[in-house]
């Protein structure tokens, strides 16, 4: 029996390493856990895309559970995600606020006019400073902010229908049901 111990041990280590590698295959390396989860959302105050004299701030979107979606007209995946946002806005389950990240105002306006505007308001973050505060590194990104202004979830990349049904919607329902 003892003579099988060493080969069995080596086989065991091999299987463990294989298991790690196999799990690694299924992970998305672009999905970097945000240190902002369950922390107060970073304060900001920016002019809106549609009206430079109006501003949008954190206080505006933390009245109720809301989505904060980082987008840009130069971002290809945003175009892929956009119809879903428009549909969500039509259903009116949750207000969607936008952070127009490092964009040109003309391009952003053209985007909203041609593809539809799902946003209650979009903040115009031309130099990306607010983006840095929110830890934005890959547009589109979507944050779930609760009514106390705390970030509850971050989704990196375009939201798919199954992301919405399986993760975001249940989370939003749960947060909306909570009092205070």
């Amino acid at each position: 029996m003892a003579r099988y111990l060493v080969p069995l041990g080596i086989l065991g280590i091999f299987l463990i390493v294989m298991a790690f590698l196999f799990i690694g295959l299924g992970l998305n390396p672009r999905e970097v856990p945000s240190p902002l989860i369950d922390k107060g959302a970073p304060e900001f105050i920016l002019p809106t895309v549609k009206n430079p004299r109006k501003t949008l701030s954190l206080a505006d979107l933390s009245n109720e559970v809301s989505l904060f979606n980082v987008w840009a007209s130069w971002c290809v995946s945003c175009r892929q995600e956009h119809p879903l946002l428009v549909e969500l806005a039509r259903q009116g389950l949750v207000p969607i606020y936008g952070l127009n990240y490092k964009d040109a105002r003309q391009d952003a306006l053209r985007w909203l006019n041609t593809l539809g505007d799902p946003y209650t308001a979009s903040a115009f973050d031309q130099d990306g400073r607010v983006g840095i505060d929110w830890g934005v590194y890959g547009v589109p990104e979507t944050f779930v902010v609760d009514r106390r202004g705390i970030i509850r979830y971050k989704h990196t990349g375009p939201i798919s229908v199954s992301d919405w049904k399986n993760t975001l919607l249940p989370m939003i329902r749960q947060l909306q049901a909570k009092k205070g």
Partner: protein
């Protein structure tokens, strides 16, 4: 001659390397050294296997700006690193801190080496013992073994 050539070649490499990072005015060379050190150690999150110094990504440039501005504003290295970690997490650090979640990352390789050494040691030891045991046999025992092996049809050589 050789020394001159070496220095020349080395500086040549530096010039190529400095190409990505835009030149920035520093009043104090020590600040510039800190800046170079920091952008070497901070990871660009867009192109994940490059640091801020090597990356051409837009975000890397913004974070270089951020680092530069914080240095000229008199922030310490620690404050700058904390600023980055608070926003992007430990992932921005090429040298992750030692915490419960990174223990395996830090000591995993050591663990593998130690396991390998132990297995090797045990194997070598076992063979040495077996060889010694074979030597300790008397000539009568050897001939008996040869007899037994011949009966079972096996090759008597070890």
């Amino acid at each position: 001659m050789r020394a001159v050539l070496t220095v020349l070649l080395l500086t040549l490499g530096l010039a190529v390397h400095a190409g990505v990072v835009e030149p920035r005015p520093f009043e104090d060379p020590a600040d510039e050294a800190r800046y170079r050190q920091l952008i070497q150690e901070l990871r660009c999150l867009v192109c994940q296997n490059q640091n801020l110094a090597d990356s051409n990504a837009d975000l890397a440039k913004d974070l270089r700006d951020q680092t530069y501005n914080m240095i000229t504003a008199g922030k310490t290295d620690e404050e700058i690193v904390t600023f980055m970690v608070n926003r992007y997490g430990d992932f921005v650090l090429y040298r992750p801190p030692l915490k419960s979640t990174t223990v395996l990352l830090w000591f995993g390789p050591l663990l593998l080496i130690v396991t390998g050494m132990v297995i090797l040691f045990v194997q070598v030891r076992r063979r040495a013992v077996a060889r010694q045991a074979a030597k300790d046999l008397t000539p009568e025992e050897h001939s008996r073994i040869a007899q037994i092996l011949a009966d079972t049809g096996e090759d008597p050589r070890p």
